[in-house]
Point group: C2
Chain length 401, copies 2
């Protein structure tokens, strides 16, 4: 197997594991840094590697529009393009075209939309999305799905969930069809491995398709989707989509409990688009292995730092002569070297290094948080540790003006 | 001696040397990266160290206005503030207040000006500038000088040059006066070294004052200023100011020839604000040891890369699928990892990593150029190497639209 998932310990629903991909291993639970247009905003891959980030996500929608997935393929695929040799995952664009709202029309065949860059018309179908994801060449590729607002009523949620499952079948068929065309004989995996050799003009990626469990905030739909999807194939991992899109936190956590009961325990689960510190800890408590979110880099660029005592707005005038690091318990290269006063100065003076330092700190914060959770699962202290951590985090929420 | 300058080889007027400061050595000739507000724009000190940059310049004018030099002092001085433990130099603000034009009034006592940030009124005198530079704590501090446009007629150039020399005397007296107040006994250097110990609440910096030779494009004024300044003290190095401010390149090079004849050969010479690749090579040929300029980072942020064949505009559409590095002969971490196509994509998508990668490449380009020049001086090939380099650089000037 090119992709494997080994559970090394568990604590209640929480699991510590090793997810192996053609580009290396991911120790789970793990936070995946978001590199929307093939760059984790403001950061260099070298910095991400140094803080122990093991996997990066890129976006099908964005890279298709710019620079174009054929360009990325001609340059050796998204790993080589962005200088990251570790595991990668591509989202399918389902969430992005959902976010376009008035610019898109959904039909059974696919979605028509206008580019947010220049208004040009485009069309995504399950088939075209798989072709794009194949050109990009990430290790894990997500199915094209129909995303709806978090508060959608059951009839709408059912419609979108059932359509997403029909699209999953089409995505899988397209991936099989493309594979048939690829050079050589033998089974698909053998052909793929052969075709990535140095003689191949364009490396053919070894990829696995993850389905996405939808169903809104309706437990019966989530349960049904989990079961039907499993009946459709032997997937090497599962996405959990349509959460953190406007529903309440208790609703989100309840859906995670339902899905945890239904999905096979020997496959990794990826909770899509969720990445605030408290959500990561709550997610791990409910059996989630992988997370991603733009929050750490977006908030980093806005000057908001995650700390173990809550958020800190680095522009606050009280920090003017504050010699302390952002977080006194943090081991990141920002906190080991720079004072709050210096970081505040950089933001006030509109200096790029400020965005870099807080973005790096925030991504490190989530990566290190998952590393800490994993160690606690392994040493048997996870339940107590996670309760203590959540209590401390919620007890001192620094207001962000 | 806390500051020393040892010449290890020469070739015509060009010299290879080692300039030692309390914060370490600088192999000369050297390019100093400009960290105007205590950050080399878009770059991290770790990156500068990795490319072999040995010395950083910061600006008195900017740091006085924001965050304030007293704040920097309270945080341990500019080295600790910005996380750079190598040699540093502060400009005196003379050039900055000159650049304000209509916002400033020059008198014999000093300069009144309005802040470019908020229009507030400020006053720089030779004495106040030394107090600020002492709070910042760089190793080399430049005198406060009167800068004029490069094309100024002789009577104006003489007035500014003679005033600059009177201000040099006042700067030096103020530095001596401050030193007298400092704790302990013994000579000034011994007192300073003692007071930087771990028991000192605020480290007292060990600094040396560099005079600045002015005189516009008038050889007789440059000669006269060089002689009078030497008669005023035993300076450990010399600035050459008022060049690259609107005069022609032949005029600038002629002034360097004059100053090279007049200044003592056993002290480093710093050509202020000059930093295009061809000017560095021409400067070294005329006995200059130190350079600084915002060009590499400013052009880096604009998407213009220095290469050994001239400048490349990374936004050009021809680069869309160009798998080559910015410069195929370059050893920097940008060129070792990323294609022109990727860098173009980052600029088109307005991604911060693009500014970082080209800024780093450009600073590396100048640092490596000076390293190469130094090696050529040492191995005796400098004259031929520098002629070849200039011919190649000028032969293929890629137009920058």
């Amino acid at each position: 197997m090119t992709f494997t998932f080994d559970r090394v310990a568990s604590s209640g629903a929480a699991r510590a594991g090793v997810f192996t991909t053609p580009h290396g291993r991911v120790d789970t639970p793990a936070f995946m840094a978001v590199g929307t247009v093939a760059t984790v905003k403001a950061l260099d891959p070298i910095e991400l590697e140094a803080i122990g980030c093991q996997v990066i996500l890129a976006n099908t929608y964005h890279l298709h529009l710019r620079p174009g997935d054929e360009i990325v393929r001609s340059l050796g695929g998204v790993h080589r393009f962005m200088g990251w040799n570790g595991p990668m995952l591509t989202d399918s664009g389902g969430f992005q075209v959902f976010s376009l709202e008035s610019l898109r029309t959904v039909s059974e065949d696919g979605v028509e939309f206008r580019s947010h860059i220049d208004g040009s018309r485009h069309r995504f179908t399950p088939e075209s999305v798989i072709q794009i994801e194949r050109n990009l060449g990430a290790d894990v590729i997500m199915q094209f799905d129909h995303v709806i607002p978090g508060q959608s009523v059951e009839v709408e949620a059912r419609d979108a969930s059932e359509r997403s499952i029909r699209w999953l079948v089409r995505c899988n068929a397209e991936l099989e069809r493309i594979s048939q065309r690829e050079p050589g004989t033998g089974n698909r995996e053998q052909r793929l491995l052969r075709s990535t050799g140095p003689d191949s003009p364009f490396p053919v990626p070894v990829q696995t398709l993850f389905p996405i469990v939808q169903g809104g905030i309706h437990a019966n739909l989530r349960r049904e989707a989990s079961r039907v999807i499993q009946a459709e194939g032997d997937w090497l991992g599962y996405g959990i989509g349509g959460l953190s899109v406007g529903e309440s936190k208790p609703d989100m956590y309840a859906m995670l409990d339902v899905v945890n009961e239904e999905l096979p325990h020997d496959r990794p689960r990826y909770l899509m688009g969720v990445g605030f510190p408290e959500d990561l800890v709550e997610g791990v408590r409910r059996g989630v292995d992988l997370f991603d979110c733009v929050a750490p880099t977006r908030m980093g660029r806005n000057g908001t730092a995650f700390t173990s005592d809550g958020r800190v707005n680095v522009r606050r005038s009280e920090l003017r002569a504050d010699a302390r690091p952002l977080d006194e318990t943090c081991e990141c290269s920002t906190c080991k070297r720079f004072s709050r006063a210096y970081i505040r100065h950089l933001f006030v003076a509109d200096e790029i290094l400020g965005l870099r330092l807080v973005s790096l700190h925030n991504v490190h914060f989530l990566v290190a948080l998952m590393r800490r959770a994993r160690a606690a699962i392994i040493d048997g202290s996870f339940d107590a540790w996670s309760r203590d951590w959540l209590a401390r985090y919620h007890s001192r929420p620094t207001p962000v003006p």
